[in-house]
Amino acid sequence: MARKALVRLIRNRRTCLDFSYDVNANFTIRLAQLFSCLNKSGEKNKKEVRGGIQCTVSADERNVCFDLLHPQVIFEQEGIFIHSSTESAEDQDSLTAGLLRILDKDGDILVEYKPMEDTVDPSNMLCAGKDSSSVMEWTQCTGDRGHRLVEHQLSYETEWDMLNTVSFKRKQSTSGEGWHCSLDRSKGAFSFNVGELKSIMVKTEGWSRLVFRLREDSGMPALHFHQGGSEAFLDALRRFVHLVQSPNDESCLIVSSQNKALSQSFENLLDDATFGLVQKFKNDPYTTTLGGFSKVTNYIFDAFRGPELLHQQRPAEEVADLLSEVIPGLEVNQQEEPGFEVITRIDLGPRPEVRRREPVSAEDWTEHMDIEGKVQNVSHLKELIFKGGLCHAVRKEAWKFLLGYFPWDSTRDERKSLQKRKTDEYFRMKLQWKSVSEEQERRNSRLRDYRSLIEKDVNRTDRTNKFYEGPDNPGLILLHDILMTYCMYDFDLGYVQGMSDLLSPILYVMENEVDTFWCFVSFMDQMHQNFEEQMQGMKTQLIQLGTLLQLLDLSFWNYLESQDSGYLYFCFRWLLIRFKRELSFQDVLRLWEVMWTGLPCQNFHLLVCCAILDSEKQKIVEENYGFNEILKHINELSMKLDIEEILLKAEAICWQIESCKVCICMSHFILFSIHLPPLLSGAGSRGQQSEQSTPDLPLPAHLLQFLWGNPKANSVHKNNEQNR
């Protein structure tokens, strides 16, 4: 018997699209059916732009790819009412519901209001109707009347929390209304540039209503926020205009002439277009969509990772079959819609128990060397290091491999000649800054600034550690010289605060200037982006961490968001210097060598963040910590953390996510082929490649590439899984 599943996509807390699929059908067929809905015209290679999402269909009809375009919708809320003939609240019959938006049109910020009749025009929908021959069914929104809207809000908010954000945007109005003030009085629709806005009257009687006054003094109808949201709207607006309370009338917000730069808020750190999208999470369904994608698409990682693994391990049919089983963690409700299964909740399942091992001893290490000094069975060795770390005696040698200074497949002789070459190279660069005269330096402000800050910072790096304590400690001179030489190695980057923290443990282990330098160079290769001018690495990681947190515990994530802490600022120090200030010195050495194995996934440090937060979230929520308290609490965790406990938890979280088949399946059906390269970075050529070479599974493999993107790391991780 064919079993059908119904997937309900919810937009703005309303049912936007229900579609069903035959769970036994081949995935490709299902996708083709869906895509025929999407593009009824059947044109090949068609590109359609719909309100910020570009849908591209490949010639073989197998790849449907949604690209996010320039952020257009900054704020959007439906169910905003105009009381047409009167402003009286009692006059229920004359209500007109509509959609209020703030749009970014090529840099012009517009406020737009459209009555519902317009906005739910079927011709504006991405899918134009039903295809009776298809298993996919498109159900049009039903919630365009206010009272139903409330019902939906209550009934779906919790049960659909994993699904409720996938949506399709409607077509942008292209009626040449220009992007200045326009007011169609017959329908009540209007739009204006925020630059035209003079003031806003805010009245609250049971609900809030706003009246806009423009510079040209054309009267606007009052907008009634029956379901709330006026504050969110004003907050969104405040990002573009400066609103101040009128001294004469507190219900009047006056637009101050002072230009309000975006950079005055948190957007400052997170100011590129991509991150701008994520930021608007709360108010903007378009970006909520993005967040929703990321929640589920995270799980596209494994099955679709690379061609070889794909064909060997998870053929499309098998993946499809997974849904026809009753999968643990998938809550299926058959009562609500007879004949359909409604997926109502996703559970990640239990966290597996993991164990750690003893550190790798000097004996273990030498056992892995052959007669020429080549390392044997590297993946096994890495796994041992991941599971237990290294005895201190081994570190001096092993870190050079882990950091990439020594190639794993090099012989002892090759390494000797490498070191010799690298020694010459080091001293050549060292001589460069050493030979800059005082006079030269006076004309070189950048070098002067680097030197000044390096001098200050090495004097306050790990000074309580025996290795660096006391006046005139030779370790400080080495830290200084290596950092100065690094400025010569990478003058564009130069010295950025935090680097001395990354260097100090390496020097402590190596006890050798040249080796330390080159190991530091390798480490900096990994960390470079954290320190760059735009701090792209930090932005990317904070986004990725947010994605993971949403996935692991949505309610905690929502709490953070409610406290304006969704930007995860409090994790900045953790990420910038990889927990260097959070852990005792010895624990830092342990954590770093574990991370450098690249196991069990890339960016394991993000899971370390998750593990720490997992232990703190209860306190944060129970104590109802606000923005400041969260920051303070996290800052004060420093030196109170237990590394072994954290590593156990981080690894368990990794396996927990990895084993979540449900999400992989869900992502097939809900997300088709969402393509978000800029958001989850690293989605360059590899992602393209996997799309092209895996026609049966046209899902880009790279959405969780930040964890499982590296095929090498992954094959080892597979071994690891088997050994567990």
Binding site: V202, K203, T204, W207, S208, L210, F225, G228, G229, S230, E231, L234, H242, V244, Q245, P247, E250, S251, L253, Q258, K260, A261, S263, Q264, S265, F266, N268, L269, D271, D449, S452, L453, K456, D457, N459, R460, T461, R463, T464, V496, Q497, G498, D501, F531, E533, M535, Y569, F572, R573, L576, I577, R581, G626, N628, L631, K632, N635
Partner: protein, 201 residues
């Protein structure tokens, strides 16, 4: 409006290594550690004090001073009641950069009236014998740039540290008292507690 124990947000700005964290720690915990880590990210400490009969809780924010971290620290400027512009008397560059710090603060803190916003200038490390910035130069700068109060401090030997922070409180209270004549008393102070400033639902 500013009665009872109100919360004052004070932010320390200045070049890396001028002693922002040390000043904060000296004031709040009365300790000094010359080898304290340089600040990564943002930190803050609270201190309760009484100034001229006013009980206040001062929330002192300390940031990373390097240019590169601007995008991290600037979001925390908003809502500040006072800005402590800090330089080190043994580092002329840090003195020359005061103007930039002030500009950055006014821009990102969204200060409505920069002329009347309370700044206090701190010349730290006066315990050091080799000065690069003279008291006269510093005083002149303060006079020419908005008549800011100037304190020469040493976090190391605690010179003038409490006095400088208390001056910050006095300046904030003075601004608020002046403001009270202009603003009706029942208005919500949006500036102080942004979250409670609900103007509508």
């Amino acid at each position: 409006m500013a009665a009872k124990s109100s919360l004052l947000k004070v932010i320390l700005l200045g070049d890396g290594g001028v002693g922002k964290s040390s000043l904060m720690n000296r004031y709040v915990t009365n300790k000094f550690d010359a080898h304290l880590f340089h600040t990564i990210g943002v930190e803050f400490l609270n201190k309760d004090l009484e100034v001229d009969g006013h009980l206040v809780t001062m929330q002192i924010w300390d940031t990373a001073g390097q240019e590169r971290f601007r995008s991290l620290r600037t979001p925390f400027y908003r809502g500040s009641d006072c800005c402590l512009l800090t330089f080190s008397v043994d580092d002329s560059q840090s003195f020359l950069n005061l103007a930039n710090w002030k500009k950055e603060f006014i821009y990102y803190a969204d200060v409505k009236e920069p002329e009347s916003f309370p700044f206090v200038v701190l010349g730290n490390k006066v315990d050091v014998t080799e000065r690069q910035v003279s008291t006269e130069d510093a005083q002149r700068w303060c006079r020419d740039n908005g008549n800011h109060p100037y304190y020469e401090t040493s976090a190391k030997d605690a010179t003038n540290v409490a006095a400088a922070f208390e001056e910050a409180v006095r300046r904030v209270l003075a601004v608020e008292e002046r403001g009270e004549h202009l603003i009706p008393t029942d208005t919500v102070n949006l500036h102080r507690k942004p979250r409670s400033s609900a103007t509508c639902c």
